[in-house]
Amino acid sequence: MSFVKLAASALAISAALATSAAARDNVQVAGSSTVLPYASIVAEAFGENFDFPTPVVESGGSSAGLARFCEGVGENQIDIANASRGIRAGEIEACAANGVTDIIEVRIGYDGIVFASDINGASFAFTPSDWFLALAPMIVVDGAVVENPNTNWNQVNPSFPDQEILAFIPGTRHGTREVFEEQVLAAGCEATGALEGMIASGMSEDDAEDACIAVRTDGISIDIDGDYTETLARIGSNPNGIGIFGLAFYENNTDTLQVATMNGVVPTVEAIASAEYPVSRPLYFYIKKAHIGVIPGLKEYAEFFVSDDMAGPSGPLAQYGLVSDPELAATQAMIAAEETMGDM
C-alpha cells in the first residue's frame, strides 16, 4: 500500500537525518548587508583558490548578525559576524553571558556614504549644515527655536535651485543611518550654531543633542527600510528626490545617478581613504576565536579576506568600491597572531 510505503520512507529519512547532523565543514557568516557584497566576493575567490567549500554569507543587518554571533559557541552557531559599525559594549556583555568571550575584531576597510540624485536633475554641492537645515524638525532662527519652515532647497541655501526638498534616508535599523546622524546632521547642527541656540533657549544639553540628530516627520524626509535598490527605485519615480547610498552602490549605477559633493569634495575611493571626504565609516567583521581550529578554513578565510590580493588598494574589493585600509598590514598580523579584543 502506497500510504504505508510513504510513511515508512518518511520515518527512515527522518531517522537518517537525525543521526547525520554531522560536523560542519563550511564557514558560516551573517550580518551587515553593507559588508555582504565584499564578503561574497571574498567567499567566492576563497572557494576557487582553496580546498575548502565556499563559505555561506547571509545578510540581515549588523545588529541582527551580532545578536546571532553572541548566541553561543558551537557548530550550530555562526563563526563570523559582519558589521558596518563597531561592536557595542552591551553586545560584548551579551556575548560573554553566552560564553562567547574571545572575539577577534577585524577592520576590513572603509565605506563612503554618498548623496546622489537623478542624473537629469540639478547638481548639488552640500555641506552638513545644508542637510541639517533641510531635515531637522526644529531649527534656530534669530535666536528662537522654531519649526523648520524650509520646503525648497533654495530656502536652505540661496545657491541651490528652487526644488522641493525630498530626501530618501536609510531607516533606523540600518548602520548607515547612525553615520548620517552623527557625521552629517550633528555636524551641521553644530556648524549652524543651532546646538548653542537650542541650549541658550533653555534646552538641556542632552535634549539639544537629540534634537540635532532628529529628522522631520512631515513627509519631506522618507525613511527607507529596504535596501539601496529601493532608494534607487524611489528616485527613479521621483526625480526631485535625493538619496543616500553606499559608494559601491553608486559606482555600479552611475548611468542613472549623479553624486553630490560634500564640503566641495567629490566622493571617490581616494578622497575617502585620505579622509578628505567627511562621511565614511569603517567596516568590520568579528571572529569567534573558539571556532578557529574547529571549523575548517575559518582562519584561512579571515587571512584571505584581509590579504593584499583581496583587500589591498588594487584588489577586487577596492575595485568594487571598498576604501582600502592603510593599516592593513597590522590587521594581517593581528589575525595571524589571533589577537582578541581584550588583548588590544
Binding site: 510513511a7 537525518l17 547532523a21 566576493i41 575567490a45 565556499t54 554569507v57 552611475t254
Partner: protein
C-alpha cells in the same frame, strides 16, 4: 391577507394592460440593472486581464535577456615560466598560483588576440581585462588543474564577458551610460565592436543560467539558479514526504473515525486558522524549534522543508477532508454491507476514490510552498549561499543552500543592474515550475475525478 386580496381586486381595473412584447418600466429597470452588472463584471475581468498581460509582458521582456550571455574567445598561452617554473608537472605546485596569478596570463592573451587581429586601442594592457568576467581566471585555473599537461601550451578558451560588455550587446549599456563608469570605458566598447566583427565575441543561449550556481556581487554574468533549484527540490521532497502522510492520516481520522465533540470541533477550527497564519510566523517557529532546540544545521533545505511542511499541512488536510467528504456514503455502506471492516472500507474504497482530490490539493500546496520566501529569511537561506553543488543526497538535505524565490529576492537586492535582469529571468523559471505543477493538478482532476 384579506386586505391584500381586496387591494388587488380594486387595483385590477386601474392597472395598465401589460404585454410580453412591450416591456413596462419595472422590467426595463431590472434589465438595465442586469446589463449594468454584466458590464461591471466585464470591466473587472478586463482590469484583471490588463494587469495579467502587463505583468507577463514585463516579466518576459525583462527576463528573457537573462537566458543569453556574451562569451569571448581567445587563445591563452599558459606560460610555464609563471605556472610551473621548475617544470615539475605536479598539480600541487601548479595550484600554488592563485587566480590572481592568472591576471598577467589573461592580459597577455588579450593583447595577443588584439595584435593578431590587427585591432588597435589606446587602452593600457592591464585594463583590457575589464572586458572579461573576473571569473575567467578561475575558469582557466580550473582547466589547468584538471589537466596539468596544458601548462606551456596555447589553448583556446571561451570565457564570459563582463556584465557591462554583456549589457552592451543586450542594449542595456551604451557609450553614454559608461561615461562615468569605473568598471568599463567607452573605448572598451570599440574593442568589443572590433572583436565582434572578427567573430570572437558572441552572444548566445546560456545554459549556465539554468544549471549554474550563485556568484558574488562583482560577477553577475556567472550567476545561475541551478543550485537553488536543487535546494528547492530537496525542500519540496521533505514537504511531500512529511505532509502527505501526516495530512492524509489526520484527515482520515478526523473525517471517518473521530467522535463529534467539542474537542474535535476545536481542532477543526484551529486547522482552518492555521491555514491563514502568515508564513513568516512559521519561519520564527522553525528558527526556535528546529535550529535552536533540535540543533539542526542552519541554511539547510531540511529545515526549510520542515518549516514549509508546517505551512502546507493545513492546506492538504482541508483539501483531503473535502475530497473524503465528497465520496458518497453509499460506497461506505455498501462496503460495510458486504462485511468489510471500517478500515477496509476506507482504504479499499473511499481513499482510492478520493485520491485525485487529495493529489490536486497536495500539488497546489506544494506549489504554494515552492514560491514561499518569508520563512526562509529567518532560517538562514537568503544571502550568498547557493554557491556549492551538494555532493550526494544526504548533503542535499543538510548542506547550506537557498531556494528559487529566495535567490530571486537576493538578486533583486544587488547593486549591479545585471542582477536585476537575472532576477526577472529567475521569475520566468519559477513561473514555469508553478505552471507545470498547476497543469498537472488540473490534468489529474480532469482525468480521474468522478462526479456522483
Amino acid at each position: 391577507m384579506t386586505d391584500a386580496s381586496a387591494d388587488r381586486s380594486t387595483d385590477g381595473h386601474s392597472r395598465a394592460k401589460t404585454s410580453l412584447l412591450q416591456l413596462d418600466e419595472r422590467t426595463k429597470k431590472r434589465n438595465a440593472a442586469e446589463a449594468r452588472f454584466q458590464a461591471y463584471g466585464i470591466a473587472a475581468l478586463a482590469v484583471g486581464m490588463f494587469f495579467l498581460i502587463a505583468l507577463l509582458t514585463a516579466i518576459v521582456s525583462n527576463g528573457t535577456r537573462a537566458f543569453t550571455q556574451t562569451f569571448v574567445m581567445m587563445d591563452v598561452t599558459l606560460d610555464a615560466q609563471k605556472l610551473d617554473p621548475d617544470g615539475t608537472g605536479d598539480a600541487e605546485v601548479i595550484a600554488k598560483t592563485t587566480t590572481f596569478g592568472y591576471g598577467g596570463i589573461i592580459d597577455a592573451a588579450l593583447e595577443q588576440t588584439l595584435v593578431a587581429r590587427g585591432i588597435t586601442t589606446e587602452i593600457a594592457v592591464g585594463d583590457l581585462d575589464q572586458m572579461l568576467s573576473s571569473g575567467a581566471a578561475a575558469q582557466i585555473r580550473r582547466a589547468v588543474l584538471d589537466d596539468t599537461s596544458l601548462v606551456g601550451q596555447t589553448v583556446t578558451f571561451e570565457v564570459l564577458a563582463s556584465s557591462r560588455v554583456d549589457g552592451y550587446l543586450k542594449g542595456r549599456v551604451t557609450r553614454e551610460s559608461l561615461a562615468r563608469d569605473r568598471n568599463l570605458s567607452p573605448e572598451h566598447l570599440d574593442v568589443v565592436d572590433a572583436l565582434q566583427e572578427a567573430g570572437l565575441v558572441e552572444r548566445r543561449f546560456n545554459w549556465a543560467f539554468i544549471t549554474g550556481s550563485d556568484a558574488s556581487e562583482s560577477r553577475p554574468e556567472q550567476a545561475g539558479i541551478g543550485v537553488s533549484m536543487i535546494g528547492s527540490f530537496f525542500m519540496m521532497l521533505v514537504v511531500l514526504v512529511l505532509s502527505l502522510p501526516i495530512g492524509v492520516a489526520t484527515s482520515i481520522y478526523l473525517e471517518e473515525f473521530a467522535p463529534q465533540n467539542r474537542f474535535t470541533d476545536f481542532i477543526e477550527v484551529n486547522i482552518s486558522n492555521l491555514a491563514a497564519v502568515p508564513s513568516i510566523v512559521f519561519g520564527i517557529l522553525g528558527l526556535a524549534i528546529f535550529i535552536q532546540v533540535a540543533h539542526l544545521p542552519q541554511s539547510a533545505p531540511l529545515v526549510g522543508g520542515l518549516v514549509l511542511t508546517l505551512m502546507t499541512l493545513p492546506t492538504i488536510i482541508i483539501s483531503t477532508r473535502a475530497s473524503l467528504k465528497s465520496v458518497p456514503p453509499s460506497i461506505r455502506d455498501a462496503a460495510l454491507g458486504v462485511g468489510a471492516s471500517k478500515m477496509q472500507s476506507i482504504f479499499h474504497h473511499v481513499l482510492p476514490l478520493a485520491m485525485p482530490g487529495i493529489l490536486t490539493g497536495t500539488i497546489l500546496g506544494l506549489a504554494q510552498a515552492l514560491g514561499e520566501t518569508a520563512p526562509l529569511l529567518l532560517i538562514g537561506m537568503v544571502g550568498f549561499i547557493a554557491s556549492n553543488y551538494p555532493d550526494g543526497i544526504a548533503e542535499g538535505f543538510l548542506s547550506p543552500n537557498s531556494a528559487m524565490p529566495a535567490q530571486i529576492y537576493e538578486w533583486a537586492k544587488r547593486a549591479d543592474p545585471a542582477y536585476y535582469e537575472r532576477a526577472w529571468g529567475g521569475i520566468i523559471i519559477l513561473l514555469l515550475f508553478l505552471m507545470t505543477m498547476n497543469i498537472i493538478a488540473i490534468l489529474l482532476r480532469r482525468r480521474f475525478e468522478r462526479r456522483w
